[in-house]
């Protein structure tokens, strides 16, 4: 097992910069999610680490050993492909055995290791089947067993759950996490599903247009996004744009919003504030007053979506639609068209430099 260091890696296809000076330190034994919209360079980054493609500039090390000149087959990585890439002409057991057999391991060892790997992914009895006789979830497990049976130093997964339906995906997320913990392998997991990234990983790296936007534990990125993009891509956020005041921003209509977390932006510069929808209190304004110093805005409910355990209110305010999520506590529900007061603490407000 080993960590992976990516330092200042760039890769261009023609004039297009697919990776632009990306540096990430993947800790030994960690579960790392690479998150980003389609075309942001996630696959390209994974392919540089795997060795299917080579960076124009920068360094990549696995377990402290520089691998720029090491071909794929010598890097001792395990890879799970989005389309599984199982060998259609081989049985499940032969697929899993492939990596051991090209190494020339003795037959008895191979058989035992293959059985162990298949048991680990709970497919112990299906070794004799051909890939086309399996369901999507089962193929996924075979691909995983095949990737880990060779005891690789790093496990690379490129949107491995993208082709599965929602229920199966959640099962596989739990399963994948269990297996990863059990063998303690450094795992780099590419996804464009923010929920998947949040629930599964120890750390998340957000990519956009080939650049690393932010990197850190899920809680940190969620609570303290460093850009509008990070705030809106990982979870939902209301964004206010205005001029920095030193302790928050001033909106074009003169309203001030106080923020006590986030970047320090010099007064007068353009800046934005991000607020999570579940941090905002919504009321008719008649009830108990908000604590002193709270941010406060008025608006009108334009739409309410009831989702059982919570409700989402869309509130129109000065040409902007804000989103507020309220837990279902049995309290009185607000009607569409009703004038409302929104309030939230400066602690829940993150200041970011303007995009």
């Amino acid at each position: 097992m080993a960590g992976v260091q990516v330092a200042n890696v760039s890769r261009s296809f023609g004039a297009h910069k697919a990776l632009d000076n990306v540096s990430i330190d993947f800790a030994d034994g960690g579960f790392y999610a690479l998150l980003g919209p389609s075309g942001s360079g996630k696959t390209t980054l994974l392919r540089q680490i795997a060795g299917f493609d080579f960076p124009d500039a920068g360094r990549i090390a696995i377990g402290g050993e520089s691998v720029e000149r090491v071909p794929v087959e010598k890097r001792r990585i395990g890879m799970v492909f989005q389309n599984y890439a199982l060998f259609p002409n081989m049985s499940v057991a032969d697929n899993v055995a492939f990596g051991l057999s090209v190494r020339g391991e003795p037959k008895a060892t191979i058989a035992a290791e293959v059985q162990r790997a298949l048991d680990l992914v709970q497919l112990g009895k299906l070794g004799g089947r051909k890939p086309h006789q399996l369901s999507g979830g089962q193929r996924q497990r075979v691909a995983l067993a095949r990737a880990i049976v060779t005891k690789p130093r790093v496990l690379l997964l490129d949107e491995p759950l993208g082709a599965l339906d929602k229920a199966l995906r959640v099962d596989m997320q739990i399963e994948l996490k269990r297996i990863q913990r059990e063998i303690g392998i450094t795992t780099i997991f590419v996804t464009h599903d923010q929920e998947e990234a949040l629930t599964m990983s120890d750390r998340i790296g957000i990519l956009r247009d080939g650049r690393l936007v932010q990197e850190g534990p899920p809680e940190e990125i969620y609570d303290r996004p460093q850009s509008e993009f990070a705030a809106t891509f990982l979870g939902d956020a209301n964004i206010f744009r205005g001029d920095a005041t030193g302790s928050g921003i001033k909106l074009p209509d003169g309203t001030t919003i106080a923020a006590s977390t986030g970047a320090s932006v010099p007064a007068g510069a353009k800046a934005s504030c991000a607020v999570r929808p579940e941090r905002i209190r919504i009321s008719t304004g008649a009830a108990e007053p908000d604590p002193a110093g709270a941010n406060m805005l008025t608006g009108q409910v334009s739409k309410r979506i009831f989702a059982g355990n919570n409700s989402t209110y869309f509130v129109d305010r000065d040409g902007q639609t804000l989103k507020v999520i309220v837990q279902n506590t049995g309290a009185e529900r607000l009607a569409e068209g009703e004038p409302v007061v929104l309030s939230w603490s400066p602690d829940s407000t993150v200041l970011v430099a303007a995009a």
């Binding site: 395990g78 199982l86 090209v102």
Partner: protein, 289 residues
């Protein structure tokens, strides 16, 4: 395939009959009738032309077994078929691989055109242009002597290698096309998966790519082997005196000696031998594919 057959039999053939009728009519007229006539001829003593006397006989078939010349030539032709097929694999498979997996876009189209070109040129033109290249004082001879500092004589004309070269050139496009089709259907991620599991390029080739492209290799081999065993044009023109093969003997019976019954009988013996070889090879090939 099996599914389609199952559906066909469940619904019965009747509704499909109007659709199949033209095809069956065509098969009857174009293949069954002439072939039956040839079967008939092969059992006759002479052609029933100009009021000549004729009778039924097994003598045409007996001739094959009584004269060792025919079986010797048949073996030579089978060997020719095997050699040409092997050369087509050696040349055609790598070409198909490069076309399917290495080249992209424009250059792929251009090379493809070059590969298909022999298909579009007339067979005789093709063979005679080889004759111009291969003969002494021909293009190859002149070119090599212009480049090399010492004098060499290249006269491949009227030799076994000339026959092989001509046949391989005529038939290699079949191998390229059938292999190209199976190779380009192999997902690149399978190759990458193999590499990521520690297999070298060579191991991926032998364990993944070749097994998966076996159907194309087999189809190409069958498409080449069968006609080459019966070929007569290339052996005659490029082989000269060394170019006597089973196919040229059959051709002689039809165009020179006018012994159609013997020619027909020899053809059916060839057909039977080829079918037996394919039947024997089938189980082995099916396992490979």
């Amino acid at each position: 395939m099996a599914d389609q057959l199952a559906i066909g039999s469940r619904r019965g053939l009747k509704p499909a009959l109007p659709l199949l009728l033209p095809a069956y009519l065509w098969l009857t007229v174009a293949i069954f009738l002439p072939l039956s006539a040839m079967v008939f001829f092969s059992f006759m003593t002479d052609l029933p032309l100009a009021g000549k006397e004729w009778a039924f006989t097994l003598g045409n078939y007996a001739a094959f077994f009584s004269q060792s010349l025919y079986s010797t030539l048949l073996f030579a032709s089978l060997r020719l078929g095997l050699e040409v097929t092997l050369w087509c694999i050696v040349i055609g498979y790598p070409a198909a691989y490069v076309l399917a997996k290495v080249l992209k876009g424009r250059s792929r189209e251009a090379i493809f055109l070059l590969v298909i070109l022999p298909f579009w040129s007339n067979g005789l033109v093709r063979i005679f242009s080889w004759a111009m290249v291969l003969r002494e004082g021909g293009i190859l001879d002149t070119a090599l002597n212009a480049v090399l500092p010492f004098k060499i004589n290249i006269d491949l004309m009227y030799s076994y290698p000339a026959v092989i070269i001509g046949l391989v050139h005529s038939y290699v496009p079949y191998m390229v096309l059938t292999c190209y089709l199976t190779l380009q259907a192999i997902d690149d991620s399978l190759i990458e998966a193999g590499r990521s599991l520690g297999a070298s390029r060579r191991q991926v080739l032998w364990r993944v790519i070749i097994p998966l492209s076996m159907p194309g290799l087999i189809a190409g081999a069958a498409l080449i082997f069968v006609p080459v065993v019966g070929s007569f044009m290339e052996p005659r023109i490029l082989g000269g005196r060394t170019g006597t093969f089973y196919g040229t003997v059959i051709e002689d019976q039809f165009v020179a000696v006018f012994n159609w019954p013997l020619g027909a009988a020899l053809s059916f013996i060839l057909l039977a031998v080829v079918l037996i070889i394919l039947a024997l090879a089938a189980p082995v090939l099916r396992r490979a594919a």
